[in-house]
């Protein structure tokens, strides 16, 4: 699998470390309540199809990326830097 890093270009997936769903970017407010925090920490969709994930270009530029890809076709649609992506 290859990911087109917006800073480095297309690179092999072995340069990246995957963290999980892009929802990690939507950190609740400290006082959002247990339910919101439970959802943030534990509840994830497991889509058959398009999904958005966080990948760290560890062996490259060191940017955290939000990668949009398809879990069925394995197509990688797009990668944007995390600080511009939002959850």
């Amino acid at each position: 699998m290859r990911i087109r890093c917006p800073l480095c270009g297309e690179r092999d997936s072995r340069e990246f470390h995957v963290m999980g769903a892009a929802e990690w970017l939507a950190r609740p407010a400290p006082d959002a309540g247990l339910e919101a925090w439970d959802a943030y920490l534990h509840l994830r969709d497991n889509p058959a199809g398009p999904t958005r994930e966080l990948w760290f270009h560890e062996a490259g530029c060191g940017a955290w990326l939000v990668v949009a890809r398809d879990t069925v076709s394995h197509a990688v649609f797009e990668a944007v830097v995390a600080w511009e992506a939002g959850a």
């Binding site: 970017l25 950190r27 940017a63 955290w64 197509a75 990688v76 600080w83």
Partner: protein
């Protein structure tokens, strides 16, 4: 035998090899298979289950009969196909599944038992008596089963891995592949052309036919020369594309040195090729017609029979018969007759077939079938049934069979697509769009004539180049034969009174498949698993469609309704060693060495792994017989005088920016914002789920400049985490993080005489509290600008001296030698572990990812003002409260003096069972300072239970210890020694 004047290989260069210990001679350019045929070696091995004689049946990877073991780097590698092994001088091959000898095999007796050994026989036969399976049957079957015999020694052959990128990957270099590569190459595309053969040409290398007005193999040679001249074309001979993967990625197996005696070159290279477009030009595989006794040696594919003759001048018999349901086999009769080999009969299943003009004067039987083959270790004769139904015996010592051709479409199915059935050619073809960017051409696409292969290949190459935006014209297509097919499907001949084989490798017969259907295994995937059809090295390439046809017939469905089994990578067997490449032994993982690594080795250090780092465990001295003696001495040395320790692998992250303080305050549960410049603070970080992630020491270097020193093992995770928090959660803050871990060597000097040792290197000696504990200062040591951190993991007065990495070895050596003069010296990880344990300092043995702040006595941090990572979740129910296990110390008080990490804790008098479990031992060691084993443990309600007793029970190693619960700080609880 070899036919004089036939073949296209070096007739004058002889190549000696051996089979079953006997010496033979082949010729340069031979494969092991052609050399065996030329030497009249036809009985090559025995089959897997019934131990029936097996011989060569095919020209390439579709070989289903002959498997041999070939000696490589001292071991016999099983299940090698003679047809894909080029001959080299000194090659040693051995037969398989035969004991004590090929001709006299004990388990050939199985063949007589075959009525008892149908599909699933082991499920049915070995059920009684109860208990006999494990003791009797399974060991018996294990001894008898298995295809070949695995060498038990390590694989010493060298392997390699490589990567390549291209515009167009052309898979196969037959007429279609050559034209595709030519079209794309001339258009300027970056082309890789891969083919398993040593030469390009594919089927043309094995045929007597003209292309563009000259011999096909010569035309192929001319095209090969043109392609090799092009700088944008890379020809990869001896390379099989083994798998199709996402995004145009292909795996390939290059047999770099298979054709050479064992030497320095890697035997095989595993490639990952990334291609924007690909052309599937893998050709087709000839399929059999099953009939009774069709597994005898010297019964082979008709196309293979003429291929061995045309390319190698080798033929497997003197009186040859041909059995076919299509026109292609006529060429075999023609080529044999031209070469002067007697063709005794051409048996054509088609009632309306006319005698072929090129068949010569051989006997032609339309509408006839071969009902049975005779002979034991090789074919001696055939029983045929003529169109009128009469049976007749024909004397023949070799039979070529053609049941038609199957496109070699396997790669097109690797991403999950199913092939499409074409009734007109009675074969599956690749589905359109099966692999994005892949187009099939020629025989792989079901277009079998040479003319069609050339034309389709040219178009596929052109369109691949055009798809990449290149201007591509169609190359001139040379004239070639356009005859193909005329096939009338026939899959097996019923009757004959003996086993009719479909899978020669796994001994699966037509009746096995019928039985599977009867017993409810009518789905193709069920049939495969029940009968083991297609599970050998050829993976059903040879007769897969025949088996489906037999199954379809038995279940009353059509072949497309029955469907194929799933084709998965690899297309051809790939050894595990090849996939591993050079990644074994020292090459398995990268090693990280501290600057003082070599010096530590020169001082006898015993090294151990800490992640990828190599770290000194202890420094043995004369007279010390084991690690404990060295470790105890090193601990006493630190407590008594001074020890020197290489802490360079610690994570060292510089955090800079106007918001650096705010950032660390958010990252750590321990408040960092108020830390003064020049001071240091130990802190813990939580994961967002409220558990402790790691600990570290933060030093404030300046107003907007901090240094985070983290654990060695956690440094990589911390780097990712800090970057995530910065980039993902707080992008608006002004913070930069620099990983300076490898820029600095860091040496610990600790012990009552630590200050004396440091002072010995300084022009102006340090006062006792200069810097104070948990403070740092910049200074010059031995002429080098350094950072001096006052901190301690041992409980003794401690300094950590950081110098640029290039001075690390010199500093460590200097400190070690001066320490030795003071009665101290270097110490390793083992002693450090004991020292920190005596002080109750935590490592990842305690901070194992399940621990919370209250568990380690830091509940007060949860009351801290402001947000930090993990704060919200840390206050969830279950992460605090009386049910939590709390950090305590343990010492043995009973007869057993040993405490084992991993032991669980129980109240004395209660059974050591799960419901009574109160915690576990995290780490333990013998403390020479205290003269006792000590341990850190997590115990329910532990902090309120100091002085009570608890039982540490290790169920695995059967050690039970009665312990007293105590404070986790065993030594110098007031911390008086820190100040030196």
């Amino acid at each position: 035998m070899r036919i004089k004047g036939r073949g296209r290989i070096g007739a004058n260069v002889s190549v000696p090899f051996s089979f079953e210990g006997r010496r033979y001679c082949g010729r340069a350019g031979d494969t092991l298979a052609s050399a065996m045929i030329a030497n009249d070696l036809h009985f090559i091995g025995r089959s897997f289950k019934y131990h029936r004689p097996r011989g060569i049946t095919a020209l390439g990877a579709d070989e289903a009969g002959a498997l041999v073991a070939i000696r490589r780097f001292g071991a016999f590698i099983p299940n090698q196909r003679p047809a894909t092994q080029e001959l080299f001088e000194g090659l040693e091959a051995r037969a398989e599944n035969a004991w004590p000898a090929l001709g006299l095999d004990v388990l050939a007796f199985n063949d007589l038992l075959s009525p008892l050994m149908g599909p699933g026989f082991y499920y049915k036969s070995f059920k009684w008596p109860r208990g006999a399976w494990e003791r009797v049957w399974e060991p018996l079957i294990r001894r008898a089963a298995g295809l070949g015999r695995l060498p038990v020694c390590p694989d010493e052959a060298p392997y390699d891995q490589a990567f390549a990128h291209c515009d167009v990957l052309v898979i196969g270099a037959g007429p279609a592949g050559l034209m595709a590569a030519l079209a794309a190459g001339r258009a300027g595309a970056d082309v890789i052309l891969a083919d398993p053969d040593r030469r390009l040409g594919g089927r043309l290398l094995f045929e007597e036919e003209e292309v563009g007005g000259r011999a096909g193999h010569e035309w192929a040679r001319a095209i090969e020369a043109e392609l090799r001249e092009m700088e944008n074309v890379r020809v990869m001979a001896r390379t099989t594309i083994t798998g199709a993967y996402d995004q145009g990625t292909w795996s390939a197996l290059e047999k770099v040195a298979h054709h050479l005696p064992d030497g320095a070159a890697p035997l095989e290279c595993h490639w990952r090729i990334v291609a924007k477009r690909a052309v599937l030009a893998t050709g087709a595989i000839e399929r059999p017609i099953a009939f009774a006794g069709n597994d005898r040696p010297r019964i082979m594919q008709a196309g293979a029979l003429r291929g061995y003759l045309n390319r190698y001048g080798a033929v497997a018999g003197r009186r040859v018969a041909i059995f076919a349901n299509n026109d292609d086999a006529y060429r075999t009769a023609r080529d044999l007759a031209t070469a002067g080999v007697e063709v005794v009969a051409l048996i054509d299943t088609r009632a309306d077939a006319a005698p072929p003009p090129e068949g010569g004067d051989c006997r032609f039987l339309a509408g006839a079938v071969v009902e049975a083959a005779h002979g034991r270790k090789g074919l001696t004769g055939l029983t045929i049934r003529t169109a009128s139904g009469a049976r007749e015996r024909i004397e023949a010592d070799c039979l070529g069979v053609s049941g038609g051709w199957n496109p070699a479409l396997h790669l097109s199915c690797h991403l999950g697509a199913r092939p499409r059935w074409r009734a007109d050619i009675a074969a599956f073809v690749p589905a359109a769009g099966a692999v994005p960017g892949l187009e099939a051409a020629g025989a792989a696409n079901g277009s079998f004539s040479t003319a069609a292969c050339l034309a389709e290949g040219a178009v596929a190459g052109q369109s691949a180049a055009q798809a990449l935006g290149l201007k591509a014209s169609l190359p001139e297509i040379p004239a070639a034969g356009d005859r193909a097919g005329g096939l009338k499907p026939l899959w097996h001949v019923p009757g004959g009174g003996a086993k009719a084989f479909l899978d020669l490798q796994n001994d699966v017969t037509v009746s096995d498949i019928l039985q599977a259907a009867r017993e409810g295994m009518g789905e193709s995937e069920h049939m495969k698993r029940y009968t083991t059809f297609g599970m050998g090295p050829d993976q059903g390439k040879n007769s897969g469609v025949n088996a489906l046809a037999v199954l379809a017939e038995a279940t009353g469905r059509s072949i497309p309704e029955t469907g194929t089994t799933t084709f998965r990578p690899p297309f051809d067997p790939v050894s595990i060693g090849t996939i591993g490449g050079a990644g074994r032994g020292a090459g398995f993982a990268p090693e990280r060495h501290t600057p003082a690594h070599d010096y530590a080795l020169s001082r006898g250090a015993v090294m151990g792994d800490a992640g990828l780092w190599k770290r000194a465990l202890w420094f043995p001295r004369a007279g010390e017989g084991n690690w404990r003696q060295s470790c105890d001495r090193e601990v006493a040395m630190v407590r008594g005088s001074v020890g020197v320790f290489d802490a360079s692998p610690l994570g060292k992250f510089e955090v800079l920016g106007a918001d650096a303080a705010r950032f660390l305050d958010f990252l750590f549960a321990t408040p960092m914002r108020a830390l003064k410049v020049g001071r240091m603070r130990w802190g813990v970080m939580l994961r967002e789920d409220g558990h402790v992630m790691d600990d570290g020491v933060v030093a404030r270097m300046g107003r907007g400049h901090f240094l985070v020193m983290s654990t060695t093992a956690g440094a990589q995770d911390l780097w990712r985490h800090m970057q995530f928090v910065r980039q993902g959660l707080r992008p608006e803050w002004d913070v930069e993080i620099v990983d300076a871990g490898e820029q600095w060597a860091q040496i610990v000097v600790t012990g009552p005489r630590a200050r004396d040792l440091v002072n010995s290197l300084l022009r102006r000696p340090l006062a006792p509290d200069q810097p104070a504990h948990m403070a740092w200062k910049a200074l010059t040591i031995a002429g080098v600008a350094a950072r001096l951190f006052r901190t301690s993991f041992t409980g003794e007065a401690g300094y950590e001296i950081a110098v640029p990495a290039r001075f690390g070895a010199a500093l460590f050596a200097l400190l070690t030698e001066r320490a030795e003069a003071m009665g101290g010296g270097a110490f390793g990880m083992e002693a450090m572990n004991v020292l920190r344990l005596e002080k109750g300092h935590l490592t990842h043995a305690e901070l194992d990812g399940r621990v919370t702040l209250p568990d380690i006595g830091l509940s007060r941090l949860l009351a801290r003002k402001g947000d930090f990572i993990g704060k919200a979740a840390a206050r969830r129910p279950g992460l605090m409260g009386p049910e939590r296990a709390e950090l305590v110390g343990l010492r043995p008080v009973g007869a057993v003096k040993q405490i084992l990490p991993g032991a669980h804790l129980f109240r004395p008098g209660l059974l050591a069972v799960a419901e009574n479990d109160e915690g576990h031992v995290a780490s333990a060691a013998y403390s020479p300072t205290l003269g006792s084993v000590i341990a850190l443990a997590f115990l329910r309600g532990g902090r309120a239970r100091h002085g009570e007793h608890v039982r540490a029970s290790d169920h695995l190693r059967h050690v039970e210890t009665l312990c007293e619960i105590c404070d986790p700080v065993f030594f110098d609880p007031e911390g008086e020694r820190l100040h030196g």
